[in-house]
Amino acid sequence: MNKFFLSFGLAVLLSACASGVKLNDVPVEDKSGSSVSAPAPEPTPAPAVAQAQSAVAPVSTVTSDNLAAGPNGVTKVIYFDYDSFVVKAEFQNAIEGHAQFLKNNPRAKVSLEGHTDERGGREYNLALGQKRADAVRQSLSLLGVSSAQIESVSFGEEKPAIQGSDESAFSKNRRTEFFYK
């Protein structure tokens, strides 16, 4: 679909040029999240200038890229203390930023990925990482985010952010990451 509209847009621009309209005069609307449902107009013969301008549609991939990027300027990693599943106060602003973004963008989906440090059994750590992901999920739910937008999963100890077997590495590995889809 996008390809079609891109080429259609290009055709419109070309025809616009041909009819002597400056590019700056072509209106570009940002209709975030709007789906392209209108029946595709015929690109030829070259329509009147006014019709060509009104047919320029937003490119929808831009919209979904924005959702996958998540909120701007909000950290996507929440760190946890040893043997703890409590979302620390210092991350409350970040949680609120994500909650706001998810509420403003009901089509946005996020995977909360819990992780542990390397100590202990792999399956038990998978369950511990799940607890960390679930703690963040509950914080978001309390702020009114729909559970349909969230999936909390765990990687346990399998995907450390930092290699190493000391506390400086461990503290960076005990985390929940926001992964927007």
């Binding site: 995977s111 990925e113 202990g120 059994g121 792999r122 399956e123 038990y124 998978l126 369950a127 511990l128 799940q130 607890k131 679930d134 999936e151 909390s152 999963v153 765990s154 990687f155 346990g156 399998e158 995907k159 992964f179």
Partner: protein, 437 residues
């Protein structure tokens, strides 16, 4: 402490184990030229082992595998035999000179031959002799392709083991494990001695918790290839695999029921990690445990009636037991504040698990009839025990000199052996069931 350690492929291991070897260390010369890197160390006194001669098989020098060496290595690793090479070559038909062999202080002798046939296969024959009575204890011949020569050698070791101990041998069973090298994760299937490894699955994402189905060909495991833990069932003989559990949240810790019809899994779809049972063919999961915290690592009892699992419901991870259909929960471990990864011996007598003590994670054995607990190892980061099908050995992962390795140990902890095979990081072992001959 009485202890035997087998050193396979690395002299460096000696440095690690030296502190636990006593002055009574003696080396047994089971070593022959083809496996001169193999070293067997025995320490201590009081171990009863059957002394057995394994004669070089006639024709094995020209064969792709040397059955006598494989049989001897298998029997040594079991801890129940002391093998030696009588230094003579006898085929399965010639009657040994028992007067001469008695000088070597062996109770039994294995002889045999290996011969390439016109169609390119191999005819392997063996015979077991009672040295003391001078009696023929029977033998067998096998006609196999070259790639099955190891399997046949393991089967010979199984037959010798069963004849002389009364227990079934497990040398022809298979193990599964996972290696990781940079970002490459591989699920392997190998012989019980770690040799003959074949890759069943290669993935850029982690693979954990492989578990053999009772049929010995299906493996259930957890793969992260779709950016979350999903449980698969994989027929290793055909390479066909299917998703068993991919519910919202995490899906992990598969465990087969003894009849192979049900798989218990840990799912987080209801909000916390809880144990469910699933038809092995797929379908709607049925919840087994009910807690607000973590319930995971289920394992069925050999009769299928109950499930042992790990739960943090008491504040720290401990092992519990519940009926397989759900119901009352009974705590099983009480010592320490971190007991995980339960596994039951097929004979139903033993529970092996990992206990953390002063930052050391060590393999422990609990005798279910008495509730007595025995620590089995001196290593620091033991993981994932599983029993051999005959309940006589435990396979587990651990760290030796900063490297992940697989070890086996006898249930008394006296004899441990490092498995051959991968030099990569190697983890997540599971010992498969008896295979049909």
């Amino acid at each position: 402490m009485v202890r035997i350690v087998f050193f396979l492929f690395t002299e460096a291991m000696i440095n690690f184990f030296l502190p636990i070897l006593t002055a009574m260390t003696l080396s047994i010369g089971v070593v022959s030229s083809a496996w001169s890197e193999v070293r067997v160390e025995v320490s201590g006194v009081g171990i009863t082992q059957i002394p057995i001669g394994i004669a070089s098989f006639k024709g094995q020098d020209a064969a792709p595998q040397k059955p006598a060496l494989i049989v001897a290595s298998d029997l040594d690793r079991s801890g129940q035999f002391k093998t030696m090479d009588p230094g003579m070559v006898l085929d399965d038909t010639s009657r040994p000179d028992f007067v001469a062999i008695r000088q070597t202080n062996t109770d039994a002798l294995v002889t045999g031959s290996i011969q390439k046939t016109a169609d390119g296969r191999f005819d392997v024959k063996y015979r077991l002799w009672d040295v003391i009575k001078g009696q023929d204890l029977g033998g067998q011949s096998f006609l196999v392709v070259a790639s099955d020569l190891r399997l046949v050698s393991h089967r010979i070791a199984d037959q010798v083991y069963e004849k002389l101990t009364g227990d079934k041998g497990v040398f022809s069973t298979r193990i599964a494990y996972v290696t990781k090298q940079s970002q490459r994760h591989v699920l392997w299937v190998a012989d019980a001695d770690g040799e003959n490894a074949q890759a069943a699955l290669t993935s850029p994402e982690p693979i954990i918790s492989p578990r053999w189905a009772p049929n010995g060909t299906d493996l259930a495991y957890v793969s992260f290839e779709s950016r979350k833990p999903v449980v698969y069932v994989h027929d290793v003989s055909t390479g066909k695999r299917r998703i068993l559990a991919n519910f919202k949240g995490s899906n992990s810790a598969p465990a087969w029921s003894p009849d192979g019809k049900t798989v218990a899994v840990t799912l987080s779809r209801d909000g916390s990690s809880q144990i469910f049972s699933l038809d092995a063919k797929g379908g709607e999961p049925k919840r087994i445990t009910q807690s607000n915290g973590i319930d995971t690592e289920p394992v069925f009892t050999p009769d299928g009636s109950a499930i042992y699992f790990v739960s943090d419901r008491g504040g720290s991870p401990q092992i519990y037991r519940t009926p397989a259909a759900g119901g009352p929960v009974q705590r099983v471990t009480f010592l320490g504040n971190y007991n995980i990864s339960p596994t039951l011996s097929p004979d139903g007598r033993w529970l092996a698990y990992i206990a953390r003590n002063a930052s050391q994670y060590r393999l422990h054995l609990l005798e279910l009839a008495t509730d007595k607990v025995y620590p089995l190892t001196d290593t620091h980061i033991d993981e994932r025990p599983s029993f051999a099908a005959n309940s006589k050995l435990i396979l587990y992962a651990t760290m030796v000199q900063g490297k992940e390795v697989l070890m086996t140990t006898t249930l008394d902890g006296k004899i441990s052996a490092k498995l051959a095979g991968q030099s990569n990081n190697i983890r997540e072992p599971h010992w498969g069931p008896f295979l049909k001959p």
